[in-house]
């Protein structure tokens, strides 16, 4: 699972979606790999306004990345983001992947497993 995906993941239990505790889910015992992805500066510029920055900071810290700015970069026409900033974001959001580990809901505490890079969100019958 890519870090960008985790910014778009919450608990699969319907009752949890209205709780602010269910987003983002929390990583535990995460194993990471870096996998090269073609760099696309325009894509990063396009995706940045869509990201929930506070959630990304929480996720990144859980995975050991603590150097994100506290505020989302706000590029303007006069001051676009530098290439290095875009490349750093590209590396974190798209090239960093969680291969093994768990995602835990902060509301219901349900644990979703990630195995070989794929998270499984199928619920046991009693939670459906």
């Amino acid at each position: 699972m890519k870090i960008l995906t985790s910014n778009y993941i919450t608990c699969a239990v319907k009752a949890c979606k209205s709780s602010t505790l269910s987003f983002p889910l929390h990583f535990q015992d995460a194993e990471l790999v870096q996998e090269e992805v073609d760099f696309n500066a325009e894509f990063i510029v396009g995706i940045l306004p869509r990201i929930e920055w506070d959630a990304l900071i929480v996720t990144a810290a859980e995975l050991g990345f603590t150097n994100l700015p506290a505020q989302k970069p706000e590029p303007t026409e006069e001051a676009p983001l530098g290439e290095q900033v875009l490349k750093d974001l590209h590396k974190l959001l798209l090239e960093t992947q969680v291969t093994e580990g768990k995602l835990v809901c902060g509301n219901c505490q349900h644990i979703y497993n990630i195995h070989q890079g794929i998270a499984n969100f199928l619920l046991p019958n009693h939670l459906v």
Partner: protein, 264 residues
């Protein structure tokens, strides 16, 4: 239909089948359908969306300027999608998707919701897709949009020949040959010339579910029966309306009904 538990029914007649036929199914699913392709190509750069029931992820590579998270009930198909090293994929149920509401620019769900075996579950699956989309602001068409495809009852020109008056709830056999997927046999050649991924190869003529049997055929290999609800004209738009959405555009393409919908 006399079904006590729709979910158990789908586990038996949809999920288990796809789990078994995944590699063979995937080997016959590679050509994007034109309307899906143009929907994805016309998205703005940096758009974020979902592919609900992504199967082998054949739409992941259409537009590298958007981000797609594909999900499917079949972990075997998700494994194949994940191995594309493009976009991202996860295992999830379309009725319990692990995504926050109101964040997505787009969604696609291609040949998926016809596998839900009750009207309520089909509407619920559409409601779940709509909920994920960005809601429209006052300017009506600026919210997220979803493209949904379902198999049509009206397909007199297909070799199944279904049409008005035929049963809408059917079993469609998938014959898994003993040959390896991708082998150069006649059936595969036929598949490669057929743009409609869902419509060729292992797909055989349909039967009503009363007639359906699962079993072995000496020559052909193993036959699996998949449940489908065949949509009649107007039914997809009606289901979208029941789910609280609106069909912005809709149409018929090669044995399928499709609609581009949004929150109302």
């Amino acid at each position: 239909m006399n079904i006590n538990n729709f979910e158990d029914y789908e586990v038996e007649h949809v999920h288990r089948v796809y789990e078994h036929i995944a590699p063979h199914f995937s080997a016959t699913r590679f050509k994007p359908w034109p309307i899906v392709e143009s929907f994805l190509r016309n998205l703005p750069i940096g758009a974020v969306g979902l592919d609900i029931g992504c199967g082998n992820g054949k739409y992941f590579t259409v537009n590298p300027n958007v981000y797609i998270m594909g999900s499917d009930r079949s972990s075997n198909l998700v494994r194949i999608a994940h191995d594309r090293k493009s976009q991202d994929s996860l295992v999830a149920d379309a009725l319990d998707v692990p995504h926050p509401n109101s964040r997505f620019d787009f969604a696609i769900s291609i040949a998926v919701i016809h596998h839900f075996s009750s009207p309520a579950r089909r509407v619920a699956s559409i409601r779940s897709i709509l909920a994920a989309l960005k809601p429209p602001s006052n300017d009506e068409h600026d919210g997220g949009k979803a493209l949904i495809y379902v198999w049509a009852l009206e397909q007199k020109n297909s070799r199944r020949g279904w049409g008005d008056g035929d049963p809408q709830d059917v079993f469609v056999p998938w014959v898994m040959s003993k040959r390896l997927p991708g082998s150069k046999n006649e059936a595969d050649k036929h598949n490669r010339q057929t743009p409609e991924g869902c419509k060729a190869d292992g797909d055989q003529g349909g039967k009503t579910h009363d007639e359906a049997k699962e079993g072995k055929d000496e020559k052909e290999g193993v036959t699996y029966q998949r449940y489908y609800h065949l949509y009649r004209s107007g039914e997809l738009e009606a289901d979208i309306a029941s789910a609280g959405g609106i069909a912005i555009e809709s149409g018929y393409e090669k044995d399928n009904w499709w609609a581009i919908c949004a929150q109302r």
